[in-house]
């Protein structure tokens, strides 16, 4: 009887699902021809899937591709928004309120994403950053909003590649939309307990080298405003002394390559330089880390899915092909909870960029089709993974409740 009742519910659910399916169907893979191909492979995906942030290969200029416009026949007509950002600018993942663009004149400059999509701003190339940090500034960085944010204030974290230097920030937004951004505490080296632990052999040497380097660097900075022959000679000498120390340090302490923070800034993925596979770490409150998963394979820079409430997230990345698929580079999804990976792309459109997740479980990546034409693929991972690549209902972004949360930049959408 219970089973019978269950069957009835199942049939009812499937019927309901079919009705929604017909009304609101997403193709499993949608190829959007690109208006221009500036060659870059560095892509980050907006939570709604309506925009991607894209660093050109030919220059370091960063563009935003806007997918919200359609042509007369109803097809998506991507619009390129040129920006003053450069150097693999990276969004503060989460609500995408800010974009972090390194090596600006003022340092790491944080721009308001809304300034680039606002109709009120005519020349987007003239947009000014809302905040800059001269100290915490480097490329290969990653930024993410931390849990607990509200509409008017939130905290975020930016982690740099070199030595995993990390800075947390707090943002307050007043009623007029003006932001006040402050550093929150001192910079720290995230996951230092795993990369330069204090209790392994050779660590005394690491600590000694760092002390020596800090002393020399401080002395160098203090001499910067003087240019007598003696001072110039000493500066030259300091540089000569620093070089072998840095070389020794590079040998002793591995780096975390291709690092990426999770969408809520509480996890970190990357490839330790002394290993050859992608690792995922959980970041503790004190900045120490613990290993969550070694994927066992080398991947590109990953993009995390938006977090699940009590389960591990998924990651998407691209990876090389093999003899069975004629070495076509593909996009994959790896479920950290179940240790399963799924192909997302097909040979018809080879992956040509890092992929990224949207909030509703789609994956977007740049692709090259069989005619060597560039475009973007919006793949519905929900239907590919769980529905056998059949067209599925549009996910959470289509519900009025979630749309409202997006419009209000409501961070509670993280914990649906």
């Amino acid at each position: 009887m219970k089973i019978f009742a269950g069957k009835t519910i199942l049939i009812f659910t499937m019927t309901l699902s079919s009705i929604t399916y017909a009304a609101n169907c997403l193709p499993p893979r949608e190829f959007i021809a690109s208006p221009a191909n500036n060659g870059g492979a560095y892509l980050r995906v907006h939570p709604t899937g309506d925009y991607v942030l894209y660093t050109g290969g030919r220059t370091s200029n960063v563009e935003i591709i806007d997918f919200t416009k359609t042509n007369d026949s109803g097809a998506i007509a991507p619009v390129i928004i040129k920006t003053p950002m450069k150097n693999e600018a990276y969004p503060v993942e989460g609500r995408w309120d800010l974009i972090a663009s390194p090596y600006d004149i003022k340092g790491m400059s944080y721009y308001s994403f809304a300034d680039f999509t606002s109709a009120a701003v005519e020349n987007k190339l003239t947009v000014e950053p809302v905040f800059s940090d001269r100290t915490h500034n480097q490329f290969y960085h990653s930024s993410a909003e931390l849990p607990g944010g509200k509409k008017g204030n939130y905290d975020f974290r930016t982690t740099l590649w070199m030595d995993r230097w990390t800075q947390d920030y707090s943002v307050s937004i007043d009623a007029a939309g003006k932001r006040e951004i402050k550093t929150k505490g001192a910079r720290y080296q995230i996951c230092e307990n795993l990369f330069a632990p204090l209790k392994i052999a050779g660590v005394t040497e690491v600590a000694d080298i760092r002390t020596q380097m800090a002393g020399l660097s401080n002395e160098y900075l203090n001499l910067q405003n003087t240019s007598t022959p003696a001072v110039l000679a000493r500066r030259q000498e300091i540089q000569t002394l620093l070089s072998p120390l840095q070389q020794r340090l590079a040998h002793l302490v591995p780096s975390l390559n291709q690092l990426t923070l999770s969408k809520d800034g509480t996890m970190l993925a990357g490839i330790p330089s002394n290993k050859s596979t992608t690792h995922v770490y959980k970041i503790k409150e004190n900045g120490e880390c613990e290993l969550v998963k070694d994927l066992g394979i080398r991947t590109s820079k990953v993009s995390f899915s938006y977090p699940y409430k009590n389960e591990l997230p998924m990651v998407t990345y691209n990876a090389e092909g093999n003899a069975a698929n004629n070495y076509v580079r593909g996009v994959y999804l790896y479920d950290l909870q179940t240790d399963k990976s799924f192909p997302i792309s097909t040979a018809a459109a080879e992956s040509a960029s890092y992929p990224g997740f949207t909030k509703d479980g789609r994956i977007i990546y740049k692709a090259i089709d069989a005619d060597r034409k560039a475009g973007f693929v919006r793949a519905d991972a929900v239907s590919i993974v769980t529905n056998g690549a059949k067209c599925a209902t549009k996910a959470s972004a289509s519900t009025p409740e979630t749309q409202k949360k997006y419009e209000n930049n409501d961070p509670s959408r993280f914990t649906q």
Partner: protein, 263 residues
């Protein structure tokens, strides 16, 4: 796997899947199933292991992304740097073993009696998939000539699709010059004509006309990120790479470390 479950449990899973689906998450309807079991439990395991042992003495399997779920793919070096093995394991099936070189790809299959059969096809060659008459595709034999037999140097693999690999080519070339070792730059084999022309103009360097087509560099991971730096010594390429743009001292440190070792 789901079909083996009692119907009521199956229904609960389906319903919870729908629930997650409606919330916009990707439903997880698979339970934890360590994929390493796929290669361990493969059919014709004894025969395939014997075949692999006959092709290489190396035991260092490098796991790489498989092109399908419930599949595992491994790379394995052979005694010749210009030939690698790929071993493909699929659930409940006999493995496929591929011998990969620029000259040919030999696919070894096993029939229902675990008897091995061969299929030979054309070799690993990016110039066929990404033709480009203006560029020279450097295969393993040509790379060997470039490296020589008693020299030291670095191989810098770069791509116009990753801007830093273009911007910082000079830093690596200067480091090689400073250490008096050779510098070989190879371009991403998938780079488009348009990008190459632009970069050739911008850099004006002769390096731009060589594209990677080496099985060895590919299998070691040379096309997964740009720039990637390999070190070579006496005609042997390091298995260790420097991935991404490093500062001058780290580059020098790595070159010294690897050229000072037996690689």
């Amino acid at each position: 796997m789901l079909t083996k479950l009692p119907l009521n449990i199956f229904i609960i899973i389906m319903l919870s899947g729908n629930f997650l689906f409606a919330k916009g998450k990707i439903a997880r309807k698979v339970s934890r199933d360590p994929s390493s079991a796929i290669s361990t439990n493969a059919a014709c395991k004894t025969e395939s292991d014997r075949l692999i042992s006959s092709l290489t003495s190396s035991k260092k399997l490098i796991k790489v992304q498989a092109d399908a779920t419930d599949k595992e793919v491994f790379r394995l070096k052979t005694e010749s740097p210009s030939k690698w093995l790929e071993i493909h394991y699929e659930k409940s099936l006999a493995p496929k073993v591929y011998e990969i070189s620029n000259e040919k790809i030999i696919e070894h299959n096993f029939d229902s009696h675990c008897k091995a059969k061969q299929k030979i096809s054309s070799g690993f060659d990016f110039s066929k998939s990404y033709p480009d008459k203006q560029m020279k595709f450097v295969n393993d034999a040509e790379l060997q000539n470039l490296m020589g037999h008693n020299r030291k140097g670095i191989i810098y693999v770069w791509s116009p699709s990753m801007v830093y690999s273009v911007k910082f080519l000079k830093r690596y070339r200067d480091a090689a010059k400073e250490l008096k070792v050779d510098f070989i730059s190879l371009l991403d084999p998938r780079a488009s004509d348009t990008d190459q022309h632009m970069i050739a103009t911008e850099l004006g360097t002769p390096e731009t006309n060589l594209k990677l087509n080496s099985v060895n560099l590919f299998m070691l991971g040379g096309t997964e990120h740009f720039p990637t730096m390999f070190v070579f010594k006496n005609g042997v390429v390091s298995e260790e790479m420097l991935v991404g743009v490093y500062d001058h001292d780290s580059i020098v440190s790595k070159i010294n470390q690897l050229t000072g070792s037996g690689l």
